[in-house]
C-alpha cells in the first residue's frame, strides 16, 4: 500500500524534473525546480532523514529557488530564451543520458548485502559527545573538519559574489531587494512574520543538538526573515564594506576554528572537545554559525555591490 504512495511520489518528481528541463520559459523551469525541491523534501521524510528534509526545503528549494527567480526577473528584458538544439542532437544526448541512468539504476538494484553502515560506530561514541541528534554529532564532532571547511567555502563564495562588483561600487550596497511597488500586504507580512520566524529559527538551532534541526535550517529561516524585511522596503541592505557586517560573516567560522585550535590545549587535539563541556561548546559554535550562515545566505541572494559607497 505504502509503495503505491511512493510510486505516485516518484511520478510527480519525474514530471517536475522533465518540466524543469523541457519548459520553454525559464521562469516555468525555475518554478518546476522549486516544486521539485519541496517534493524532494517529502522524499527525505520518507527516507527517515528529517534533518536533510528540513535542509532541502530551506536551502535546496527555498534559498536556491529565490536566487534563480531573481535571476529570471533580471534576465527577462535582456536575454532571449535559448532553444534546445535539433532533434538529432537531442536523440544522441538522450541515449547517452539514458545509458548513464540505466547503469546507475543497475547499481541501485544490486545493493551490497548486508548494507554497510557507520550507524553502529556513530551510536557507540554518542555518549562521548553528549548530544542526542546523531546528524549533529556527525556534523560537529566526527566529521567536524568537513563542516568547518564548508563554512570556509561559504565565505569564499561570498567573496566570489562580491568580487563581481565594478571597482567603483566596491564597498557599496547591493542592489535593493525592494519590490518594484511594495504592496501593503507584503509590508504587513514583513511586520508580523519576522518575530515568529526568528523564534522558529532560534528554536531550530537550539533544538538541533538533540532533535532534528540545526545550524543550516535555523540560519536559513533567519536569512529568510531578513530578506523579507528588505523586500518589503522596511530596511536597507548594509554596505558591504561595513565592518560590523564583515564580522558577523566571520564570527561563526572564526569561533569554530578557535574552538578547534583550543582543543590542542583543552582536549585531545584539533576539533576535539573536553567531554564535560562538549555540549555547551557545540551549542555555542552552532549559534555563531547559524548567525553567520543567515548573513551569508542573505548577502549571497542580494548579490554584489551595485551602488557607490556613501562618503
Amino acid at each position: 500500500m505504502s509503495l503505491v504512495v511512493d510510486l505516485f511520489m516518484v511520478l510527480l518528481i519525474l514530471t517536475s524534473a522533465v518540466w524543469t528541463v523541457l519548459a520553454r520559459d525559464r521562469r516555468d523551469a525555475v518554478i518546476a525546480f522549486i516544486v521539485l525541491g519541496l517534493q524532494l523534501s517529502l522524499v527525505w521524510m520518507r527516507l527517515m532523514a528529517v534533518d536533510v528534509a528540513l535542509t532541502e526545503a530551506a536551502v535546496g528549494g527555498g534559498a536556491t529557488g529565490l536566487v534563480l527567480l531573481r535571476a529570471c526577473a533580471r534576465l527577462q528584458p535582456v536575454e532571449a530564451e535559448g532553444r534546445l538544439p535539433g532533434l538529432r542532437a537531442q536523440i544522441a544526448a538522450g541515449l547517452l543520458c539514458a545509458g548513464v541512468g540505466v547503469a546507475l539504476a543497475a547499481v541501485i538494484l544490486a545493493p551490497a548485502a548486508p548494507a554497510p553502515s557507520l550507524a553502529p560506530a556513530v551510536a557507540a561514541h554518542m555518549d562521548e559527545v553528549g548530544l542526542k541528534n546523531p546528524v549533529t554529532v556527525v556534523l560537529l564532532a566526527y566529521r567536524a573538519l568537513d563542516t568547518l571547511l564548508e563554512k570556509v567555502v561559504l565565505v569564499l563564495g561570498l567573496i566570489g559574489v562580491w568580487a563581481l562588483a565594478p571597482d567603483l561600487f566596491w564597498g557599496g550596497r547591493p542592489a535593493s531587494l525592494r519590490a518594484a511597488s511594495p504592496s501593503g500586504t507584503l509590508t504587513f507580512l514583513a511586520r508580523v512574520l519576522p518575530p515568529v520566524g526568528v523564534l522558529i529559527g532560534v528554536y531550530l538551532v537550539w533544538n538541533g543538538a538533540d532533535h532534528p534541526g540545526g545550524t543550516f535550517q535555523g540560519g536559513t529561516v533567519l536569512a529568510a526573515m531578513w530578506l523579507l524585511v528588505m523586500m518589503a522596503g522596511l530596511g536597507e541592505l548594509p554596505e558591504t564594506r561595513a565592518l560590523r557586517l564583515r564580522r558577523l560573516v566571520a564570527v561563526g567560522p572564526a569561533l569554530f576554528i578557535a574552538v578547534g585550535l583550543a582543543g590542542f590545549w583543552m582536549a585531545d587535539g584539533f576539533l576535539s572537545y573536553p567531554p564535560e563541556y562538549a555540549k555547551p561548546i557545540i551549542v555555542a559554535v552552532e549559534v555563531a554559525l547559524a548567525l553567520s550562515i543567515a548573513v551569508i545566505l542573505g548577502l549571497m541572494v542580494a548579490g554584489p555591490a551595485a551602488k557607490e559607497p556613501e562618503r
Partner: protein, 499 residues
C-alpha cells in the same frame, strides 16, 4: 598505511590546513589596508610549516598522520602527509611565496587606506586557494576531498574574472560550469562508493574494494569528473581562455597548482582505492587522452598570437604528460608502483612543470607590463627592457621542452625510459614529438623577444624584486634536473602497507 593514531608533530598538518583559512578570515573581517600584510605573514608561516613537515617526514621515513578530533577512520577523518604530499606541500608553499612577492607590484593596497576590490579579492582568495590545495594534498577521505575540490573551485573562479571584462567573465562562467559538472560527477561516485563499502576513508577502502562493475562505475564517474577539472583532452576547452584571462599572478597559480589537484586525486584513486591490478584498457585510455592533449594542444599553442594563450595551451599539453604514467607504471617490472621509473617520472614532471609554468606566466605578465601588450609577433625589445625576465622565460622553456639540464628533461627521460621498458612505443613517440613541438613554440617567443625593438615603442620599468622572484622559480625548475636519475625513495615514504 592505516591511519591508526596521530603521529608526533601531526598538529603541523592541521596548521598547514588552517593557517591560510585564518588569514583569509582575517582579511575579510579586518578589511582596509591589512590584506597584503596579513597575506605575507601567512605566507612566511605557511612556508615554515610546509618545510617542517617535509623535514619530519624525511627524518622519520614514515608518513605523518593526524586524526581530527581524535576520531579514528572510518568514523572520523584523517590527514596524512606521505612523501608525495610533503613534496606537493613544499612545492605549493614555494610557488605561492614567489607569486606573493610578484603580486606586491600588481595588488598593493592604495596608501590612502580605502579598501579596493582587486587587492582584497586577490589576497583573500589566494589564501583560500592555499587551504584548498593543502586539503587536497593531505585529506585521506573521499568526501573531505570533495570539499577540498569545492574550496578550490570557489577560490579559483573569481580570480579568472578579476579584471571584470566580458570575455574573462565568460571564461570564468564556463570554467565554473565545467568545474561544477566535474564536482557533481565526483560526488556521485563517492555516493556509490559509500553505498557499496560504507566508508570514505581511502586507507580503509584500499583493503575493501572489489573488482565488480559497480565499483568500476563509481570510480569511472569520479575520474571523468576529475578529468574535466584537470582539463584533459577533450574536456580542456575551458582552460585556455580562463588561464589566459586571469591576471598573471593568478594564472601562474591556476596553471602551476590548481589543475594538479584533480590529477593527484586521480592518482590516489587509481593506485590506492581501485582494486589492484587496475584495469589495463582504462589506463591505456587515460594515456591515449593524455597523448591527444600533448599533440593537439601543443599545435594549438603554436598557432596562438597572444603569449598568455600560448602558455595556457601549453599547460593542457604538459598536464597531458602526467596521464601517460598509468600504463607505464602498471606494465613495469617494479615490485610496487612507487618503485617504478614511470611513477617517479610522472611526479617529477608534475613538480617541474609547476615551477616552470609559474615562472612562464609570471614572466609573461612582466613582459606585458613592460611592453604594454603580449602579442608574440611584436615582442621585440623585451630582452632589452626586462632581460632577467626573458632569461627566466627561456630557462623555464628548457624544462618544458625537456632539454638538459632542466627538471623537465629528467622527468621526460624517466617517462621515456619507462615507455621503452614497458614496450609502449606510441607513448615514447608522443613524448619525443611533444618535446619538439614545445621547443618550437618556446623558441618562437624567445626569438621574437630577442629582436630589436620597433621604433618608438616605450617600455615601463619593472621592480627588480619581481623579476628576481620569477627567475628564482625558473632556476628551481632547472635545478630539479640535478636530482639523481632513479626512483626517488622520498616519494615512496608512507606507502609501506600498500602492495
Amino acid at each position: 598505511m592505516m591511519a591508526d593514531a596521530t603521529t608526533p608533530g601531526g598538529g603541523l598538518l592541521v596548521l598547514a590546513l588552517m593557517l591560510p583559512a585564518v588569514g583569509m578570515l582575517a582579511i575579510f573581517a579586518l578589511g582596509l589596508r591589512h590584506a597584503e600584510r596579513i597575506a605575507h605573514a601567512t605566507l612566511l608561516a605557511g612556508l615554515a610549516v610546509a618545510l617542517a613537515v617535509a623535514v619530519k617526514v624525511g627524518q622519520s621515513g614514515q608518513a605523518m598522520t593526524y586524526l581530527i578530533g581524535g576520531w579514528r577512520p572510518p568514523l572520523g577523518i584523517a590527514l596524512q602527509a606521505d612523501g608525495l604530499s610533503a613534496v606537493l606541500m613544499v612545492m605549493t608553499a614555494v610557488i605561492l611565496c614567489a607569486v606573493g612577492v610578484f603580486a606586491r607590484g600588481s595588488f598593493s593596497s592604495p596608501r590612502d587606506g580605502a579598501e579596493t576590490r582587486r587587492p582584497f579579492v586577490f589576497w583573500s582568495l589566494f589564501l583560500g586557494l592555499w587551504s584548498a590545495l593543502n586539503c587536497a594534498w593531505l585529506a585521506r577521505d573521499l568526501f573531505s576531498l570533495f570539499v577540498a575540490l569545492e574550496l578550490l573551485t570557489f577560490s579559483a573562479v573569481p580570480l579568472v574574472c578579476l579584471d571584470g571584462s566580458r570575455e574573462t567573465l565568460r571564461a570564468a562562467l564556463r570554467y565554473l560550469l565545467f568545474a561544477l559538472a566535474g564536482s557533481v560527477l565526483y560526488l556521485m561516485g563517492t555516493g556509490l562508493i559509500y553505498g557499496a563499502y560504507g566508508t570514505m576513508d581511502i586507507a580503509t577502502l584500499h583493503h575493501l574494494t572489489r573488482a565488480d562493475w559497480a565499483t568500476s562505475l563509481a570510480l569511472g564517474l569520479m575520474i571523468v569528473g576529475l578529468m574535466a577539472k584537470a582539463a584533459l583532452f577533450p574536456l580542456h576547452l575551458w582552460l585556455p581562455p580562463a588561464h589566459a584571462g586571469a591576471p598573471a599572478a593568478a594564472s601562474a597559480v591556476l596553471s602551476a597548482l590548481v589543475v594538479k589537484a584533480p590529477f593527484v586525486l586521480i592518482l590516489r584513486l587509481w593506485f590506492e582505492v581501485a582494486p589492484q591490478p587496475a584495469s589495463t584498457p582504462a589506463g591505456a585510455m587515460l594515456a591515449g587522452l593524455g597523448a591527444a592533449s600533448i599533440l593537439f594542444c601543443s599545435v594549438m599553442a603554436l598557432r596562438q598570437a597572444r603569449l598568455k594563450l600560448m602558455i595556457a595551451y601549453s599547460t593542457v599539453a604538459q598536464v597531458g604528460y602526467l596521464f601517460l604514467v598509468f600504463p607505464l607504471v602498471m606494465g613495469s617490472a617494479a615490485v610496487t608502483p612507487w618503485e617504478s621509473v614511470g611513477w617517479t617520472g610522472g611526479v617529477l614532471q608534475l613538480v617541474s612543470h609547476a615551477f616552470a609554468k609559474a615562472a612562464m606566466f609570471l614572466a609573461a605578465g612582466l613582459i606585458a607590463e613592460a611592453l604594454g601588450h603580449d602579442r608574440i609577433a611584436d615582442l621585440g625589445g623585451a630582452a632589452k627592457a626586462v632581460p632577467v625576465t626573458v632569461a627566466a622565460f627561456a630557462l623555464a622553456g628548457l624544462s618544458l621542452m625537456g632539454l638538459p639540464p632542466a627538471g623537465g628533461f629528467i622527468a621526460k627521460l624517466m617517462l621515456l625510459t619507462a615507455a621503452v621498458e614497458t614496450a609502449n612505443w606510441w607513448i615514447a613517440a608522443t613524448i619525443l614529438a611533444g618535446g619538439i613541438l614545445a621547443a618550437t613554440y618556446v623558441f618562437r617567443v624567445v626569438g621574437s623577444a630577442l629582436a630589436e625593438a620597433p621604433e618608438g615603442a616605450g617600455t615601463t620599468a619593472i621592480a627588480r624584486s619581481r623579476e628576481l622572484a620569477v627567475l628564482a622559480l625558473a632556476l628551481i625548475a632547472v635545478a630539479l634536473g640535478f636530482l639523481p636519475l632513479q626512483p626517488f625513495d622520498y616519494l615512496a615514504i608512507g606507502r609501506g602497507g600498500m602492495p
